[in-house]
Subunit: 336 residues, 3 copies
């Protein structure tokens, strides 16, 4: 594809030789002489200029000497993403229900939806137009799947789950299993029946082998645009707010609330009934055992403001280095 | 259902108007005017009384002014659970082997058991009466599944696994994969053949995407009534004692022993060959690197008694606050 | 099997009565009077001698009084593993494509390979001789599976994944799902198209329900002989070096590099773009937030050399014990 053709199709302003052929678009470290790359700021642009790439997609505002062909646009990220999606289209399943799939006769499957091989769809389910259930997906009774939602292979969705539009659920995820709740009874533990459900709003993405448990009563809710990585645990009755980000192996105990825009880095844990305020960030492996204020940046277990946690870590290092003096000080104070 | 009908069926003593209709039973925060709710103690009863619920299930001993209709019983939890199971019956699979399932001819499947769509059952397996294997479950050779055990979709059970009665295994769990063991050989790592198995006793529940590895020799044992949450790792040759509770994302290394009634909160880790004494509790994210005494409550990594760990955390905070004074003290002690 | 027959078949030198019958080979704690056991050093040999086992496999160099029949060999581990594999042969799937499997007509499946029940194989895949795909495995388009590789049930392999020879992938693992990357766009988060892939070299083993994400650009690479346990997360663009060991529930963020022979114990976390030097060890639950030198042994979050981390822990314990004196010291320094 010529650079000039790219600009014709995707917009932006061309600076330099538009007749060059571009074979792909790659990050700066990956780009070869036939590739376009992209740069968000002047620092990245320096790397982009130094790379073998023949073309750089840059923001309109960035100053640069046009040693390579440039495409100037409002958002190089969006431009690159658009171009990547165009060059690497995702092959969709063929519409329709595969002959080996089992769809209950009470279920409604839109004509343009597809149900893949060896999938099962329970009673009273509805699958909206453009939705895709890949191989070996299991859908319980009374589930609803929104438009253009994609459910990858070997995902299990328990009954009464409602999933919005343009949701992506990666392979092996389990949505709507019973929450983890018991009470002592007759010398053992009796299971609490979990009669709530899971609701996943539009534009959510859920990672591979992630588990989202159904509510005890009411709903475990994943709000619009939240992004959840692989192997994450979301327990019964949690609410994950709009646009929240949960990185890999994070775990939310029961009834945790993440307000809008919360970020949990990898392996974060939050104990039950804790609320994390709007826009707060929990850095990697943090353990939250009490509510966190909006906008806070927390670290450690138990979590504290990151700055304070780093001060404490530095203090501990200093004390360990001076341990002989400190021991002497304490001993002499004890004596006298 | 009228409250009087509930009492007729489930027992307990009615106080107040039994003619009211109840549509469901819900937790205090979820109950509407048509719902019954339940309360274990006087504090919860206050919330229950303040809720819109038309009926409250309470212990016989609790004092209360009958502003709402009450059902008095020995255990409100049990009463509520019984009622919930009655109102929300789990639809069972139809008995029999689904046409798309593959059951080896040497396997014995009880008449009232069901093997769901696209499930596979290996040689010499036995599946007892009332047991259910849902869609895409894979059962290796020589496995035994007890009465009324339910295995949710996409679960894999490796060969030689023995599972008791009334066990619940949630979707995506993997039972009996090889333990993680290698030895250096010929410039690389050689895999230890794992020729042991997994035994799961009666009344165990295993969460979604949880993994329980087979033993190297002998048995990885999950004892009666243990409850294991989602995404938990139980390595080769562990023994999880009766009634133990393992919350989400907990990990047990090889040959760990949890004695009866141990509780591991979320994201707990235990290194290999450690024994956790009867009734001990490891709080969230704790890392146990040595044996823990019966009844202990531990916290931190490396774990220590929770009270001590909190003292240390407080001490560190105090030192960080007084870091200037402390540095001065140490400097002057060094000088003189 | 007589001990003399074992020696005939597997080599080694017999000391003592070779006419005894051996029924199995077991670890020292598991061996009965009909079993052989094995011992690597003199200490283990003492246990082996004390066990009921009728035969002990030992290194040539170990001194011992032949109270039991001995087999002397170069490597008791290797000898035992060879013998175990002989006594417990893994039943292979029958070669060929199962009638219920769906293999795209453009895929090439070697004659001796097997594709199990309800498996699906996408366009342009190649499956080499001796490879086994078990039930409900899903293989995307353009995947290559090497010789004698075994993929257990319910594994999902996304498109463009390349898997070498003699690889073992345990049940429920997900290979090649999209990496976790977004950018802010139009009031929400836009997904980065992930157009890279995953390459798994020869002799790798991957645990149950482990997730290895595809690269954003380029390749997420698992090098020859690396061993990965259950429930591990390997994010986009990581490189896991030759012979690296990742224990259960470890998580690598994006673009992490583990050089050759790195060991991560259980529940280790590594933040993005960090490099762990050749042969380094991260002990359980360690969190690495910066590069680690080759050969280092690290502990804690943030990680530090294990020895230093233990000093700091000891120091903190000492301070907590002497907290009264310390508070007094600081108060009087503040005053004076």
């Amino acid at each position: 594809m010529r650079i000039s053709e790219i600009v014709e199709r995707f917009g932006g302003e061309l600076e330099g030789d538009g007749s060059l052929e571009v074979r792909g678009i790659k990050g700066v470290e990956f780009a070869g002489p036939d590739d376009a790359t992209f740069a968000l700021d002047e620092k990245l642009l320096t790397s982009a200029e130094a790379s073998p790439a023949c073309c750089v997609i840059v923001s309109r505002g960035v100053r640069c000497s046009p040693a390579k062909t440039l495409i100037r646009c409002d958002s190089p990220n969006r431009y690159a993403a658009d171009l990547l999606e165009f060059l690497h289209p995702t092959p969709a399943l063929e519409p329709g229900v595969h002959a080996s799939a089992l769809v209950d006769e009470s279920a409604e499957v839109a004509e343009t939806a597809s149900v893949g091989p060896h999938a099962t769809v329970g009673r009273n389910c509805s699958i909206a137009s453009g939705a895709q259930l890949m191989s070996c997906v299991s859908l319980g009774d009374d589930c609803a799947i929104g438009e253009d939602t994609v459910i990858h292979p070997n995902v299990t969705v328990y009954s009464h789950t409602r999933i919005g539009a343009r949701v992506i659920i990666h392979a092996g995820a389990v949505i709507g299993a019973d929450g983890f709740g018991y009470f002592p009874d007759a010398g053992g533990l009796r299971k609490w029946p979990h009669v709530g459900n899971v609701v996943i709003e539009d534009d959510v993405e859920i990672g591979a082998n992630t588990c989202i448990d159904r509510a005890k009563f009411g709903t475990t809710l994943i709000e619009r645009g939240a992004k959840i990585d692989n192997l994450v645990q979301v327990a019964h009755n949690c609410r994950v707010g709009r646009g929240a980000i949960l990185a890999g192996q994070t775990g939310l105990s029961g009834s945790v609330v993440l307000e809008e825009g919360v970020t949990c880095a990898g392996q974060v844990g939050i104990v039950d009934h804790v609320t994390i305020g709007r826009g707060a960030t929990l850095t990697a492996q943090t353990g939250a055992i009490a509510d966190i204020a909006p906008g806070a940046v927390e670290f450690g277990m138990p979590s504290k403001p990151r700055r304070r946690a780093l001060q404490e870590a530095a203090m501990l290092g200093f004390l360990a280095e001076n341990r002989k003096t400190l021991r002497k000080l304490i001993r002499s104070a004890d004596r006298g």
